[in-house]
């Protein structure tokens, strides 16, 4: 049966369509003319603490935990837009991420077995609120006593704070758990002997890169590894520049002049002969100081 709309119905349909378009337009106008939210309101503490949220979430605590987790990611993501991509997420202290700790705390209280917020708390939070980072990680250990990775996170937090003894103990405790990799045991001794060394840092970030499930944490570990590789590069290049100066009595004006010495270092170079940093950008030669620097566009983090 063919349905033919009457003229009255056509008018009603038109009103509905025009109405929908109008509300979309008005909503857009309201959004663009919304007065800026004060930072005090934007950073207002959460209304619910984790325990209360867990109690009122009925059977939906897992879903509520996912919601808080995604809110934490959006919160950091929103703030991170203002910093260059080469800044790793473990150096976000200047962004005033006041809500991150309560968001992660609530997510992990709602679902204590949700591992990713703990990883995030261990990596991002120490630069924002060290005590909260330790508290959340320890809370995770209490709720998941067999999760050796939480001990790895705790050890990482202490290592960053240069508390090598506490870091070593955390790794040693984690090493005793079933399924813990062999290198966890070795970490205790390494912490005691070479706590602040570049080699140990490389191992810690290397392990983190292998183990991390969160892309942001993986990327942070990658940037840190690049930074460590670049520090080694720069040490070798500085040594090479001093050899050049000792030989010629001056600094090279271009990288090309150092070509034979660079070749001995076995470093990658570009078409102009400039050595490349681990991100693939050429190092900048500072002729006046007989020094070198990372390029402004380098992907390698500066600290």
């Amino acid at each position: 049966m063919n349905y033919i709309a009457s003229s009255r119905e056509r008018w009603l349909m038109l009103i509905v369509i025009v109405g929908l378009v109008s509300v979309a337009g008005l909503s857009r106008w309201l959004d663009t003319h919304r007065p800026p939210t004060g930072t005090k309101i934007a950073e207002e503490q959460l209304y619910l603490n984790g325990a209360t949220a867990r109690r009122i979430s009925l059977a939906f605590n897992g879903l509520a935990a996912d919601w808080y987790w995604m809110r934490a990611l959006q919160y950091v993501g929103g703030k991170i837009m203002t910093v260059p991509p080469s800044v790793p997420i473990d150096s976000l202290g200047q962004l005033n991420l006041k809500l991150l700790a309560p968001l992660l705390d609530t997510a992990t209280t709602l679902d204590p077995q949700f591992m990713e917020p703990y990883e995030y708390a261990a990596v991002v939070l120490p630069d924002v609120d060290l005590q909260q980072a330790i508290l959340i990680t320890k809370k995770g250990i209490a709720a998941n006593p067999l999760a050796w990775r939480l001990y790895q996170h705790l050890g990482f937090i202490y290592w960053q704070q240069k508390d090598f003894q506490a870091a070593g103990e955390a790794y040693a405790q984690g090493a005793k758990l079933p399924g813990a990799p062999v290198w966890m045991e070795a970490m205790k001794a390494k912490m005691a002997v070479e706590g602040g060394s570049r080699e140990l840092a490389r191992e810690i970030y290397g392990r983190m890169y292998e183990q991390a499930e969160d892309d942001q944490v993986k990327n942070m570990a990658r940037l840190r590894l690049m930074n460590l590789a670049s520090l080694n590069d720069r040490d070798a290049l500085l040594k090479m520049l001093s050899v050049f100066r000792a030989k010629t009595g001056r600094c090279p004006s271009t990288w090309k002049e150092t070509e034979p010495l660079l070749r001995a270092l076995n470093m990658n170079t570009d078409s102009t002969g400039a050595p490349l940093d681990p991100g693939g950008t050429p190092y900048v030669l500072v002729v006046a100081k007989c020094d070198l620097n990372l390029d402004r566009n380098s992907k390698v983090p500066r600290k």
Partner: protein, 279 residues
């Protein structure tokens, strides 16, 4: 015991009589299921599929690599929520609608007992919920396969949690049926919803009873704790999202606990319903 009483007992307990009861209950249950389908109750599946498809496609961008967990949490939570709404809103209307439309007179003019009618109605809605939950479970499994780009162990491990959700819905249907046997649909819906909420707060009732100073208050909260169904026992969505399986013996006891509870609610509903005067 006189001869008449004895012959009645023999009549109702004989295999033939039992088969008759079973057939009548099955007929009422089948009709209730058909009615639910005609009333488009299963249309909620469309909304469920839309939510799940949207989540499967878009959640990856904002979940920080936690798509699988979120799909399970979202899918099973939606399954419970939709099921609770169906159990409550369809459940409270099961008896009321028949009385309102006066079809109950036609039914009871036939050799159908009031208890058989109630049990048939109850089982019919349980069948509707079973279809609903099974289709939703299959939907969650497919969404998991989609986000994992292949087979995922969670596809199997979520089913015990789905079973517990279904058992919870069966219990709520019984509670809705009980309330609707003596009160209006609106009030029954409200009361059943309260039971759902209080059932998930059982642990608080217990801790309240332990922390109260007054002996009377302690007894009151302890009685409430043991009288009201403890739905937290049936909650396994969050561990299921982590791939955990419940202890089978615990599941068996929880299912038994719920079945006993369902039996109590239906018995009470039948008791109240048998005394109702439809004139």
């Amino acid at each position: 015991m006189d001869k008449v009483q004895a012959s009645k007992i023999v009549e109702t307990t004989s295999p033939l009589a039992f088969a008759g009861v079973r057939n009548r209950i099955a007929t009422i249950a089948g009709n209730t299921f058909r009615e639910a389908v005609r009333d488009r109750v299963l249309y909620n599946l469309v909304l469920f599929v839309l939510i799940l498809t949207g989540a499967a496609v878009f959640i990856g961008e904002i979940s920080g690599g936690q798509e699988r967990k979120i799909i399970v949490d979202l899918g099973l939570s939606a399954m419970l929520l939709f099921g609770v709404f169906i159990a409550i809103f369809v459940g409270v209307g099961l008896v009321y609608k028949e009385i309102e439309r006066r079809t109950v007179y036609a039914i009871f003019s036939k050799p159908v007992g009031r208890s058989e009618f109630l049990i048939g109605k109850y089982l019919g809605l349980c069948l509707t919920l079973l279809v609903n939950v099974a289709v939703m479970g299959a939907g969650v499994s497919l969404a998991l396969i989609y986000v994992s780009h292949g087979w995922d162990q969670l596809v199997l491990t979520i089913w015990p949690a789905i079973l517990l959700i279904y058992v919870e819905l069966m219990l709520l249907t019984g509670v809705a049926l009980l309330f609707s046997s003596f009160s209006s649909p609106a009030l029954s819906a409200l009361l059943t919803f309260f039971v759902f909420i209080i059932g998930h707060f059982s642990a608080d009732l217990k801790s309240l009873s332990g922390s109260m100073g007054s002996v009377a208050a302690r007894w009151l909260f302890a009685s409430l704790y043991y009288l009201l169904p403890n739905l937290a026992n049936l909650s396994f969505i969050t561990p299921a999202a982590h791939g955990q399986l419940p202890d089978p013996s615990r599941v068996a006891v929880v299912v038994l606990y719920t079945l006993v509870y369902i039996m109590i609610t239906i018995a009470m509903a039948a008791m109240i319903f048998s005394r109702r005067n439809f004139k």
